[in-house]
């Protein structure tokens, strides 16, 4: 199923902007401020998601992928940091300009988020039915009975056995995978147009991961929601995403169709990531990327990846590369001075 297929599923009552993506993040900059100075957690990231599309955002811990997601929903605590530049345009409106009240209407209703920790993302002292119904009641002025009915529907949707009985169970009575299903049910309760899933399967064991991912894909096809899938697991990306954004040190370093990315990675960092995934063959040594992620406290003049890059030269250390289209007819962006060399090698 292609992205355009799913895009047509959006309700016709909505003002359709031809060719305009559902969400477009333009040059987003989210900085953290503390006594020691400024941390450039997200430093000029742009990405877009079409209606019904699945976009993967990959990168190692601390590369700014979660902060990007939090910035879209404006969930970065104001004491810690804020988005200092750029735009987040969703359905024609810049979310960064909205009031907190307008933002609340969007959160959970138009854009829903699934967090990494299914163990702690549910309040332990409230029943899951109550918590899902609460999400419905916030956005739809539903009666308690209607909200409960909807909760039952979505629990059924995420394939929790005996949903009717489990409605009145507490989170501790569910296993990790089941709890993540509950979180997904909660996120889907209001039919969001965009689902941001921040490492939804990281805390689950592998067999359960596969089940949850399959479920997410199935539900996506059913509801037509676009998904922004944040992960560090390239296997998950390969299975689920249509397009991939690779982030490094708060910047986007490569963006491509999922097949292009895996077949012809144009950025050395992407290559490194792909090389460090264990493949079926046993016995071979796993390659790792040498060096450390640079500190985001100090400004990085050149390419952020240069100190770890086997292709880097003086120019790379001095001048930051811009995102450029890689040779080929399909959209494929990479921020690397040496991308032709990388592709050729």
């Amino acid at each position: 199923m292609s992205a355009s297929d799913l895009a047509d599923r959006t309700t016709p009552t909505e003002t359709k902007r031809a060719g305009e993506p559902l969400l477009s993040v333009e040059d987003l900059k989210t900085y953290f401020f503390n006594e020691d100075g400024v941390t450039r957690a997200v430093d000029g990231v742009s990405l877009s998601i079409a209606a019904g599309e699945t976009l993967g955002v990959v990168g190692e811990s601390g590369c700014g992928k979660s902060v990007t997601a939090l910035s879209i929903l404006r969930l970065v605590p104001p004491r810690i940091g804020r988005s200092v530049g750029g735009r987040v345009v969703f359905e024609g409106r810049n979310l960064l300009d909205l009031s907190e009240r307008e933002m609340r209407v969007i959160r959970g209703d138009r854009i829903a988020m699934i967090f990494q920790e299914p163990m702690t993302s549910l309040n332990p002292v409230l029943t899951v039915g109550h918590q899902i119904a609460e999400a419905v009641r916030i956005h739809r002025r539903a009666s308690v009975a209607d909200a409960r009915k909807r909760a039952l529907e979505v629990l059924d949707l995420v394939k929790i056995p005996d949903a009717g009985q489990r409605l009145d169970d507490y989170p501790h009575q569910f296993s990790g995978g089941m709890r993540q299903r509950v979180m997904i049910a909660m996120a889907l309760a209001c039919d969001p147009k965009l689902l941001i899933a921040d490492e939804p399967t990281t805390a689950l064991d592998v067999t359960v991961q596969a089940q949850v991912l399959d479920l997410m894909l199935e539900l996506k096809a059913e509801t037509g929601a676009a998904v922004m899938l944040i992960t560090h697991d390239l296997g998950v990306v390969a299975e689920t995403c249509q397009r991939v954004v690779v982030m490094y040190a708060g910047r986007k370093v490569e963006e491509a169709d999922v097949f292009d990315l895996f077949d012809r990675p144009a950025h050395p960092y992407t290559r490194g990531l792909l090389a460090s995934v264990a493949r079926g063959k046993a016995g071979g040594r796993l390659t790792e990327i040498p060096g450390m992620v640079p500190s985001l406290r100090e400004p990085i003049p050149g390419c952020a990846f240069a100190p770890r890059c086997p292709f880097a030269d003086g120019h790379c250390h001095a001048v930051a590369p811009t995102l450029e289209q890689i040779a080929g007819d399909r959209p494929h962006l990479a921020a690397c001075h040496k991308s032709t060399e990388v592709l050729a090698s």
Partner: protein, 296 residues
């Protein structure tokens, strides 16, 4: 129950479902301090509420019968003005319990509201917490003496004067619970779900503050009863015409060697109430603190 052992189904029912009586007994066995404290407190409350029915007039003076030792007519003896010590001790429970309970309720309510705001609105926190630190530096008794001399002696003033220095303790407690609760992922998830702040406050942040507050309230109650007695004793609290334990001890302390019962009985009553309240507090803490409760 012995008659219904005929059918096999009834016997199994009886074995699996403990009777109400045995459940109650098990509760008593597992929480002896809580039950013991509650029983004493309950008796005290009943006596305070029904004081007019149980005890004679605490004000009637019989100068002929001054400083009589305990007897059939006067169970606890009489004081320097020939007033019935038993009646006055019972009536004294009214003021003590009223002050203790209202101080606990008011300081918890005020502290809860301030603590919730201090824990959630970051700029309120900085201002309020410094103010609370300042309040904590004022000794309760000195503040009470100052307020009584400013506004005149009355039970209400005594209550307010004890509430003020207790509030910061409650605020600190509430704030510490709020600070740890608001970092919970389910709070972030609720915000991401579009819940308005007041809903998050009531649904997610308020509930975990309640158990420690209940425990704290009992300790506040006990200390308020003691402070009220101390203030009465110093003559800076409840007006002397109202029978309170502190007033009784203060008025008759010069007759300690001649008529020790005048002081002994209100003193015992005071100690007993404070002990009972503290036992209830300890018992509740054992029940409500999840770390301890799980072990039981």
């Amino acid at each position: 129950m012995a008659e219904i052992t005929g059918g096999p189904s009834t016997t199994s029912d009886e074995a699996s479902a403990p009777t109400r009586g045995s459940q109650a007994w098990r509760f008593v066995r597992r929480n002896p301090t809580l039950v013991f404290g509650l029983v004493i407190l309950l008796i005290m409350c009943v006596m305070a509420i029904f004081a007019p029915l149980i005890a004679a007039d605490p004000f009637s003076m019989k100068p002929v019968q001054r400083l009589r030792a305990p007897s059939d007519a006067f169970w606890f003896g009489t004081d320097q003005l020939g007033r019935d010590v038993f009646a006055r001790t019972i009536w004294g429970a009214r003021v003590s319990l009223a002050v203790g309970i209202s101080v606990a309720v008011f300081s918890v309510l005020v502290g809860l509201v301030i603590g919730l705001f201090a824990g959630t609105v970051w700029w309120v926190e900085a201002v309020v917490m410094r103010f609370m630190d300042g309040l904590m530096a004022i000794p309760a008794i000195l503040l009470a003496i100052a307020m009584v001399s400013l506004f005149g002696a009355s039970v209400m003033i005594v209550i307010i004067a004890i509430v003020i220095p207790e509030v910061p303790r409650v605020v600190r407690l509430v704030r510490s619970v709020v600070l740890s609760t608001r970092e919970q992922p389910y709070v972030e998830a609720a915000i991401a779900g579009g819940a308005p702040w007041w809903k998050i406050l009531i649904r997610h942040i308020l509930p975990p503050t309640i158990p420690p507050l209940i425990v704290q309230a009992t300790y506040i109650c006990a200390s308020a009863i003691l402070v009220e007695a101390a203030l009465s004793f110093l003559g800076a609290g409840t007006p002397p015409e109202i029978p309170t334990w502190g007033n009784m001890i203060a008025a008759d302390r010069i007759y300690l060697s001649r008529a020790p019962w005048c002081i002994f009985y209100p003193g015992v009553a005071l100690a007993l109430v404070v002990l009972a309240v503290n036992l209830v507090g300890d018992g509740l803490r054992d029940r409500l603190d999840p770390r301890i409760a799980r072990r039981m």
